[in-house]
Symmetry: C2
Subunit: 244 residues, 2 copies
DNA sequence: CGCCGGTTTGACATACTTCAAGAGAAGTGG
DNA sequence: CCACTTCTCTTGAAGTATGTCAAACCGGCG
C-alpha cells in the first residue's frame, strides 16, 4: 500500500477547481479547505479503498481514472462507477462504503480527513450543496448504466462506452480537430464495466474497426472515423442525453 | 390523467413520518411543510411523470409502489428504480427528470409544489440533510442493482428480487410469523426490472417453486418456504448487505 | 358465456460465454 | 542486444443460458 504524499497545488490553480466539491466556494471557504487538504498518489492497479473498510478520508479525484467495483462470492465482478477528475470519493455521514475503489490509471487525490471535512460540510452550505449535486449526477449516470447493463446488446454497450469517452474527453479540449483518444483501461476492465467478457469486448471493438467506424493506432489509442454511425450503434435516440 | 386530490393526513399521524424527507423535522418545520402539502392519488398503470416533462411538484410516496423506467428507441425498457413508501420523487435544483415515473399499484403521494419546496429546503438544513441521505440510499441500491443486471444469472436475479421483497416487507410487520407476500407487479414489469423477458421470469419462479423454496397460493401471492436456500440462490455472500 | 390480460409451457434460435491456443508488445536479466 | 517471461489481446470452435415465437391456459369480468 504505497501512498506517497505529494505537494499540493494551490486551490486557486487547481485544474478541477470549478467542477469539484469546492466549485461553489468563495475565497474564505476555499482557505478553510486548503488548510486541511493533502495530496496522495496511487499507481495504476493499486486499491485506494477496500469495501467495508473504515473511511478515514474523503477526497476529490484530481488526476487519472479510478473505478468502483463490486464482486460476487465466486469472483464475478461488476464496476458500478467510473471516477474521472473532479469526482468525489466518500460520503458525508457514511463511515463505510460498499464497494472497492481502485486506481485504474495512476491517480492523484486531494484528500480531506473525514471528521474535519464533515464539520466543514455542516458549516458550509456551498460545500453541502455541491456535494448534493455531485451525488445526483452520479445517480443519473448510474441509471443510464442500468439501462445499458439490463437491455443493451454487446455492440450497443461498446458503442455507448466509446461515445462516453469521446464526450468526456472532448469536453476538456475541443477545437474542431479530433485527436486520438486512449482507452483508460484494459479489455478486462472494460468487460467488467459493461457486464461482458473480455473476449466479447475484443470482438466488438474489432467489428467496429472492420466497419470503419473507429480505427486503432495501437491497442489503446483509437480514433472515431464516423461519429454518426457510432451513435447509431449505441441504440440511444437521436439527442440522447446531450442536453449539456 | 386522472389526478383526484384527497384529504391529507395530519403530518403527526402520517405513516411515513419517520422515514420520509420530513423525518428529521421538528414541530415548527413540520408545520411549514404541512402548509404547502397536498395529496394526490394515481391508479395502477397511470403515469405520474413523463421523462423530460417540467417538474411542477416533488413528492413523498405515502402508499403503494411506483417505478422509474427508461426506454430505448425500439421499445426495450429497463426499470431503474422502485419507489416504496417514504421514497422521494423529484430533486432540488432539477427541473426535469430523465425517466418516466409510473404507478405500479394504486399510489398516494404527498406533494409539494417545487418552488416553495426548494425555498424550504434552502432554509431548513434538516430537510436538506434528509434529502441527501435519501439520495445516497438510492445510489447504494442503484449500485447493487448494477451488479445484479451486469453479472447475475436469471435464477440469481429472481432470488435476489424475492429476498428484497421479503426484507422490505417484514421490516414493517415482523412478529416471527411469515405471512404470504404479494408481488407488487406483473411478470412483465418484473422482467423489466431485472433485465429479463417475462417468459424467463415465469420459468424461474416455477423452478424455485418446484424446488420447494417458495410456494404460490395464487399468481400474485407467495410464501418463502426455505429462506436459506433462497439466499444461496442469490449469489450474494453470507451477510450480503444486511448491515442495517 | 365468451372475451381478455396475464401467465405458463414448449420448441427453436442465437448472442454471448467458455475454453483453448496463439500472437504481439513490453519488460527483465544476462 | 537477444532470449525469456509475462501480460494483454486476438481469434477460433463449441456450449449454453436466455431470448423469440407461438400456442394454450386460467381467472376475472362484462
Amino acid at each position: 500500500m504505497n501512498v506517497p504524499l505529494r505537494a499540493s497545488v494551490k486551490c486557486s490553480e487547481c485544474p478541477i477547481r470549478h467542477r469539484a466539491v469546492c466549485a461553489r466556494c468563495d475565497e474564505d471557504e476555499l482557505a478553510l479547505l486548503e488548510k486541511v487538504k493533502c495530496y496522495r498518489s496511487y499507481q495504476a492497479g493499486e486499491v485506494i479503498l477496500w469495501r467495508g473498510e473504515d473511511l478515514e478520508f474523503v477526497a476529490s479525484l484530481v488526476k487519472g481514472v479510478a473505478s468502483l467495483s463490486k464482486t460476487l462470492e465466486d469472483g464475478r465482478t461488476q464496476m458500478v462507477g467510473l471516477l474521472l477528475p473532479s469526482d468525489f470519493i466518500g460520503r458525508p455521514g457514511r463511515e463505510r462504503i460498499d464497494f472497492d475503489v481502485t486506481a485504474t490509471t495512476d491517480v492523484t487525490l486531494c484528500c480531506f480527513e473525514r471528521r474535519p471535512f464533515e464539520r466543514i460540510v455542516h458549516e458550509t452550505p456551498n460545500v453541502a450543496k455541491r456535494l448534493m449535486e455531485l451525488a445526483l449526477d452520479e445517480l443519473d449516470s448510474a441509471r443510464d448504466w442500468m439501462l445499458l447493463l439490463g437491455r443493451k446488446t454487446a455492440r450497443e454497450k461498446i458503442a455507448t462506452f466509446i461515445e462516453m469517452l469521446v464526450r468526456r474527453s472532448t469536453v476538456t479540449d475541443f477545437n474542431g480537430v479530433q485527436h486520438d483518444l486512449s482507452l483508460p483501461m484494459t479489455r478486462d476492465q472494460i468487460a467488467n464495466y459493461l457486464g461482458l467478457t473480455l473476449e466479447t469486448v475484443s470482438r466488438q471493438f474489432n467489428a467496429l474497426k472492420k466497419e470503419g467506424i473507429i480505427s486503432f493506432s495501437d491497442r489503446r489509442r483509437f480514433e472515431v472515423r464516423d461519429i454518426a454511425a457510432l451513435h447509431d450503434a449505441t441504440g440511444d435516440d437521436a439527442d440522447g442525453g446531450l442536453i449539456d
